[in-house]
Symmetry: D2
Subunit: 145 residues, 4 copies
Amino acid sequence: MNKLINRIEIPVRFSENDPMGVVWHGNYIKYFEDGREAFGLQYNISYMDYFNNSILAPIVKIYCDYKRSLRFGDTAVIETEYEYSESAKLIFNYKIFDKKSELLCASGRTIQVFTDIKGNLILTHPEFFEKWKVTWGFPGSRYND
Amino acid sequence: MNKLINRIEIPVRFSENDPMGVVWHGNYIKYFEDGREAFGLQYNISYMDYFNNSILAPIVKIYCDYKRSLRFGDTAVIETEYEYSESAKLIFNYKIFDKKSELLCASGRTIQVFTDIKGNLILTHPEFFEKWKVTWGFPGSRYND
Amino acid sequence: MNKLINRIEIPVRFSENDPMGVVWHGNYIKYFEDGREAFGLQYNISYMDYFNNSILAPIVKIYCDYKRSLRFGDTAVIETEYEYSESAKLIFNYKIFDKKSELLCASGRTIQVFTDIKGNLILTHPEFFEKWKVTWGFPGSRYND
Amino acid sequence: MNKLINRIEIPVRFSENDPMGVVWHGNYIKYFEDGREAFGLQYNISYMDYFNNSILAPIVKIYCDYKRSLRFGDTAVIETEYEYSESAKLIFNYKIFDKKSELLCASGRTIQVFTDIKGNLILTHPEFFEKWKVTWGFPGSRYND
């Protein structure tokens, strides 16, 4: 199956570091969002595309596995990969590397669902998302037939 | 003239500290907001009160003067004082103390204006704000007569 | 086995909300830290206790499951529970409730390991942590005999 | 006198926006830091250069004047300019523009002093900073003669 991956570089900010001198663990969640937004811009599936379709895509699960610290002065390389799912969910897997050493610093995963503007869960597949999947070479959902 | 002051205690969070081991300077802006929100709850002039009157109160100027560092383990005491102004502005002055030593760590000031929901500046005094001033013993504005 | 739980209330800050009008998902990681710090103060196992023993306890895994949104005006109730483990790890489970409705908004889990000041992993159980476990009614580790 | 200016572009992050749908005012302080760090990298006067000289440069005053909102989807252009001062201070002035419209969104100013590693104020001009000023065409300080 097709592999859609975005790669973006984020220099670590001074204010993202904690008193241990390393990036505070909560900031990796922001790096995931940076990766997801860059992915969205590259593959036309950003927050703006949801908005324009009156759809929200809130995160319902997040997971992060920390391997190695990033520090001020480092540049994070964020790899965001779309994971195909038959259900009405948006799944991304992330890998964060230290640019210089190329070592893996963290990996993670987010799961998003679709809701309408009022926050009601959409169980069928939104039409624009079906089109998006087909455009990028993934099977459309049979549940919507 | 009347003095309206709110005092609130905020324990310093680990994640608010930077690699120097002290609270990152940008987080004092968040402490000011904590103070302003606590003030609003005490004196009935919070974001919610603006919303209910279809008014926004964006900050247009902020100033902070840093005297002494706060650290993880310290508790910040935030004093927020309303400053009366004849113009259609909301002005607050802040003092942040270290609870234990009672020493002044920072002082600051914010100025807010009023806009409608679309962000257009309101030059006259919003009615609910006029009432609020009178309720708390300040002169109403003569400009609205 | 003994159950150690801390419960703390955190009013949602305006700046913690995103353009959807709900708490940005990354801020729950900060709420977990608020819970962990409050737990540490209540049960004498805070960052400061590590420091004093020349030990760090970096987070190596984090997980969050989002059920329901919190909003500005809400108060989060954070329940942090210690999970006993025979290995040299510190595990906490979290539940975040909306104070008013008492509904569960999120649950999560963090896993911490112990390192020395230079960041080298400590595989045996730090002595102060062994004592801590015994003090609170948990079995000490047999690995350190 | 010489003008040293750095210009950097920062795409606005989703998580930097507040429930009003605009960048939360406190995040401009982070943008100033982004500008200052980019300036430091371009002109060799970054946090790392201080560290290597056992010097810290904490911020003692910050000021921000908000003109126009930035939103998710916008790109902030941050201009950071060094302001020469005879005293042992580091002064920067900032302008933040919206990239597309080229309109000014905010301007600001930070003042930093020099301290040793323990946080004691250094009243004379640190040698590396004197050299830096001369290197970039500014007069050295007469106070150190």
